[in-house]
Symmetry: D2
Subunit: 336 residues, 4 copies
């Protein structure tokens, strides 16, 4: 069986993960890597990647390959996807495609015209805990969903310099939860009400962002979801999900370093959560890439496609508008 040839564009934290996962897969060959940073290029050298280049333009011509994995900064995603599409190369792109609805719509148009495959990196869909809840809901185990609850808290806020370029809490962090809200019940969101505050670090507020939020989503059929976010949970990364429906409730708990318990006269003590997304979602990143590769090989529909990116962005933009205008905002107000 012939191997699928890959290139990886961008070898930051996520790029390294995707590269290493690809290198461990059967029937996959990574022929080229692009990154302008010396440290990243060294990382690729150690893994004996045949071609290592500085720019995306070079990457596209250095050797033939079937698919590119785009892990470069967000503001390059749209251009890089378009360039790959026009070269007939399939794309796995980290979320988000872009922070502008208009630009995303343009890119998806090119993707459609060139008939390439595009998958977006909403890795949490591949987490075994969330997937189990998704599957239970899909099988009808909770009946008709009525309430969805998503808790998503980071162990610590990123630098303010990062926050300034991130698109803000809703597009940088909550966008994963918006995607999860759609994924777990398979319904579209109709309205958003977002409430936010600066409770963790005033510097985040000075940078024009918030660090704590509660967002209420209403689906088109009246079902409601509520997301709570914080940039800093003292006890570590916190990722939980609950779907309540007419026949019951399914919950995914957070994941912990281990399940030990220590009983002393002070109480019962257990371990902290797995530190952050790299630890919590290590297996999810592997499953995600395996899903992409399998869909490429089998010609199946992508598990997360361009429309999924578009919808999450819409919800995020509606949340921003809601926060600013202090009122519930219909998704239709955002347009597409």
């Amino acid at each position: 069986m012939s191997k699928v040839k890959f290139a990886v564009a961008g070898l930051g934290r996520i790029g390294k993960i995707h590269l290493d996962n690809l290198l461990q897969m059967d029937h996959v060959e990574v022929v080229a890597v692009m990154d302008p940073m010396e440290e990243c290029r060294k990382y690729a050298h150690e893994r004996k990647i045949p071609h290592i280049v500085n720019t995306y333009e070079e990457l596209l011509v250095v050797a033939p390959f079937d698919s590119v994995v785009i892990c470069s900064p967000t503001d390059t995603h749209a251009d890089y996807v378009e360039m790959a599409a026009k070269a007939g190369i399939h794309v796995f792109c980290e979320k988000p495609l872009d922070l502008s609805m208009q630009r995303v719509v343009e890119v998806l148009k090119v993707v459609k015209e060139t008939n390439i495959k595009l998958m977006l990196g909403f890795n949490r869909r591949f987490d075994k805990e969330f997937r189990k809840v998704h599957n239970l809901v899909k099988e009808g185990a909770v009946g008709q969903p009525h309430l969805v609850k998503i808790t998503s808290r980071d162990p610590g806020a990123p630098p303010v310099s990062y926050i300034k370029q991130s698109g803000g809490l809703f597009l940088d962090m909550t966008i994963h939860d918006f995607d999860m809200a759609r994924f777990v019940v398979g319904k579209e969101v109709d309205e958003v009400y977002a409430k936010g505050a600066v409770l963790v670090d005033p510097a985040i507020g000075e940078a024009g962002d918030i660090d704590t939020a509660v967002v209420t989503l209403t689906y088109t059929d009246g079902t409601m979801a509520v997301i709570d976010n914080s940039r800093e949970a003292a006890y570590g990364y916190d990722q939980r999900l609950e779907v309540f429906g007419s026949k019951g409730m399914a919950q995914a708990d957070n994941n912990y370093e281990d399940s030990h318990r220590l009983y002393t006269n002070k109480g019962i003590l257990g371990s902290l959560p797995l530190h952050f997304f790299l630890e919590r979602y290590a297996a999810a990143y592997r499953s995600e890439m395996a899903s992409y590769v399998a869909s490429l090989k089998n010609g199946d529909a992508m598990a997360v496609d361009g429309t999924d990116g578009l919808r999450s962005l819409q919800i995020g933009l509606a949340a921003i508008k809601s926060l600013k205008e202090k009122r519930p905002v219909k998704i239709a107000e955002i347009g597409n």
Copy 2:
């Protein structure tokens, strides 16, 4: 030590609980009971209550007592409290005092003028799980509170006839959660956004009420709380609480029939929750009445006073207005 003399007005489900708890307390004597129903009067007879009467007017004169416990229908609360106050009798009154802000303000004025003690029956404050979280928050164990999450779901909806007279979901059911939101962090609520739906039973919608809700509260300092309610949880009564703050998180889990686990090739099975409030809050009702009696005897401030009733009603009315007007509503809009 002389005994505190009590009368109980109304021997429905809650009245019976309070009566039995009083009968088991040292230094307490129940001298009279009022209920128009034959079955309830029989219940009092079996417990050898000296005076058993049909009307509140009779009760107030049948024998001297120090305090009355009012468990009659909601629409009698305000009048009964006023009558007791004017007779110099201390009052424990089931929530709510009244569904009208104006009437509550009037009653509290009389309470103040007559200088009687008034305690309101927000029993959940005495639940050991919630009290533990309250105490941890108060001790600073979670630091400065940022997010409060309250889940409150009933095992089944009451008859539509009840719902019609209940004041609606927010004043009948969520009002407990509004009180908990204030209690657990000791802060006042500034703004309410309520989203509701009829997902359990269309008949509830036809009666002008909702059966499922998500309510976002914002405290005056920016802290946020979110409450989710359902009139019907297939797996039973569900009462949970979480406070997330700058230093950590405290959670109170739901309570279950027992903690057994059965492991088979089908999975791991555990018991359902305690059926409903009578079971879940049995100990809380005892602690509540013990707190009232102790405050009476020691001349301490009441653990739940008239203002607590007033504030919860305000939040409830703001939630109703928010649901109707589809926008966040400031508490100040409700007035008092």
Copy 3:
């Protein structure tokens, strides 16, 4: 319906519990109490018990009653049961009947001849956690039982003066676990191997007892049980049960003060266990007495009868012999 008339002999910790539980039951009347201690007699006075006497002889004649509840010191049990039996009075007796097999056999002979009802106070059979496991085993939920595990640890050792008169760890503490081993699977024990050590307090060893033990029981069909005991668990009372069988496993967990969790950067902290047997088994004591009263009224077989006491004592004596002789001991070696 006529009331069942009771007397209570001995108002120590357990006697008070049984008295108060009887006072709260319908169709029960406590007509007399016996205790030589002033403090205990005062306790009975406050509860308005009609007859309060100093000696068991007085008790038996002070007033007519149907049943006596014997909570006096262990060395009086056998005599008191015999005396009641000969007076035609039914007996609820705290465990053990006696520490001598011969004496127990004698007493049971009298019980049989006089045709009175006798129930023994193995309260743990009425604990909701253990009963649930018992019921699951009985229903076949775990299939054919293969392994039973019982953990039973006290929060602290009793005074050495108590230990000296207690009959030793196996007859004082483990005897509850021996009964549980028989109860939970409904099988008889054939062989005992006991291993013990003095690890908590050398003074216990000097008193001729042990404070830590592992006892392996083999049932007549080859099924095995293992009990582990300690006189002092730093984290508090620890009572757990597990039955493993051909189709699965049923577990009863220990019980805790509450189910809260506190998450901080130090880990996740939960509450300690309920302090000791008075707290852990409060509801079990109520159910136990209710079962006794119901059996009396309905003429049903007792839930825990004299044979149950005899068998547990046999196992305990076999354990003592095994520890001393450092070898497995057959129950048949103990005789009866």
Copy 4:
């Protein structure tokens, strides 16, 4: 930095795991693999191992390497270790070294004389759950250990043909638990009492083995441990550990497929355990091999050495003797 050169002898289930783990490690190079089976040789071919041979004799000369990983059948272990030692090659050997004490003593003598490094594959020491308990005990978190409880149950019995050659339950399965008993508290065992039964499958009994066991170990200082084993747990692989001491208790729970909970009117349902040792200990196998490689490179003492293998075998042989002679057996009776 120069790479450590490895050969792998035997590519069965465990050999494949070790090979793949070695292939993913930095500074490691696998130069040769030995297996007589075509399927296994193909597995090595796909991984581009330079030398693939049929016999151990060929392996030792096909290319120079620093260490061999021995995963061939148990009856070859002793010879293979000796041959490697005499060739100056370090050895990682799957447990057990041999089923005969005399042979193990001989091999360890050769290991000592040739001054090679030897590590034994007691993988469970590297499981994060058990290691956490080990570390807590070592740090003194539970004080002085008094009781150790180990539960170890397989999801299903192996074929009777395997059992016949396995050395029996105690040397094949419980030996891991014997090692854990020594490891978790860092003490030596002095006495063994083993009780066993055939409760799962009569064919196992006909083959001269047992399928269910309870083994009590006494350490030299009086501390006790109890192990319970079954060849077939209907709900799957069950691996738990508990250490109770003067200051508290540390527990390691079993590991599950995920932590979801499904709440319906039937109860609360959770996932089954991870299927078997390949799943449960996947990460432990990686850590184990990383520990071996690190010790080789740094010249550190091995985490599990030849004496560890010897001691576990001794306990196993004592258990067999105890079962046969129906009495507690001192380790000293086994000799070494």
